[in-house]
Amino acid sequence: MKASASPAFPFFPWLVLFAAFAGFPSTQSRAAGAEQTAKILASAQAFLGTLDEAQRGKVNFAYDDAAQRKRWSNLPVSMAEHRGLRMGDLKPAQRDAVMKLLATTLSKMGYEKVVGIVESDEVLRKESSRSSPAFGRDEYFISFVGKPSITEPWMIQFGGHHLALNITIAGEQGVLTPSLIAVQPAKFTLDGKTVRPMGRETDKALELVLALSEEQRKQAILGSQMRDLVLGPGHDGEMIQPEGLKASALNEAQRKLLWELAAEWSGIIHDTAAAAKMSEIKTHLADTWFAWSGPLEAGKAYFRIQGPTVFIEYAPQKLGGDVTMHIHSMYRDPGNDYGKKFSAK
């Protein structure tokens, strides 16, 4: 796995933002979604075609396997059970097929972020002692929950330390929630380039909080320390009471900053699904809350975006020393985690 496209430069998902702002006609977006699902299905089948029978037995889970659906964590794989196929156990062509599947399922920005997170874990592996938990690009797992299909719902799970992608494909729809996006080290050098897999969200959040008036900031800033995610792994189905500053109190430019910040998570999935999600978030933007805890410095503060269809937490971690180098984040949809809205149809 190699970070072929460098996330070092500030990539901006203009296409996705434009599409969501413009609002695709639903027939067009449905057709685009169906086309993307067909491509994802083809990539999934191509990967399955590279596997032997034993491997196929390991990678496939029934759609109603609730235990596998929830078997994800921020912990290294030696500390938390993962099932599926381990990247380190795959042949190069099989690993390439996994990466192609991810590239098809995610946006360019999302794919670069995921590759960056995996590469950061590889840095961790190289810097760790032998007694350390298993880190590195070999320690990620791929699995399917449900049979890949053009019409029926199914899931792709890809994850390991600091990463849990739970992607539900349901006909023309694609859902990325719940997903854990985290990184350590948050900044490293790869092939001579500086890589910050979660750099844009870190910078955009600071831009937003600095764009608030003093009065708005008073409301947004929680008066207490937030030492971790509140709704991290293991908290499916829970939702906390929103706090902070409601976006109805923001001006248009501030709302745009908030929306673009949320796009760093909602835009990880492929562009068509991302555009639909971002349009949905925009619809509910006035009922969306922004909360901040910590200093007004990049990467040193916890923040949360919470609305009717989105829940995002970003929590710098003390472990490892420099909090800016170790970030955990969680992306949820209060009403549609694991695509339950689409699966119920």
């Binding site: 961790l124 002692s129 007694s131 938990p133 320390q225 971790d228 293991g234 829970e238």
Partner: protein
Amino acid sequence: MRAVLLGCLWVAVSGESFAHRLDEYLQATRVSVATNRIDFTFELTPGVEVAGQVLEQMDPDRDGRISQDEGNAYAQRFLNDLKLSLDGNPAAIKVTSASFPPGQEIRKGIGTIRIQATSDAPSLGAGSHALQLSNGHLPAISVYLVNALQSNDPLVEIGKQTRDELQKDYRLEFRIRRAKP
């Protein structure tokens, strides 16, 4: 010899330090309000460097295994360190369930203890109410998170949450709506 041992310990700790909680005991509380009771979920995760102190309380016979009795005793000791009041009056809180990971997981800093508790509040009538919770359990090593869950009950309206900087002291304002006849 001592230097070698300390060196080994440092390597072990620094290697592990990338992955999980280290020198803090995270106590995360979620509060759920119903019209006649308040439910609490406490998730307690000791970091690897403080796990020994927590295990001393949890596993007094030091056999490395947290028995049902030891677990129940710890859960009760934890609740004894809390102060709960409803509308300014002290309120009782009782354990409804508790689960403990293997001692080995706790020692590694990846084990989370889960305690469910409830406070019966049959006298909660329609109107505004305030709950106050102070957590005084192992304060020297602990960090805290406390949040109210959104209520699915249309009669319950969650209001303002106030915390001190560490989230040891928490106040939740809520309102119970009058049920339509």
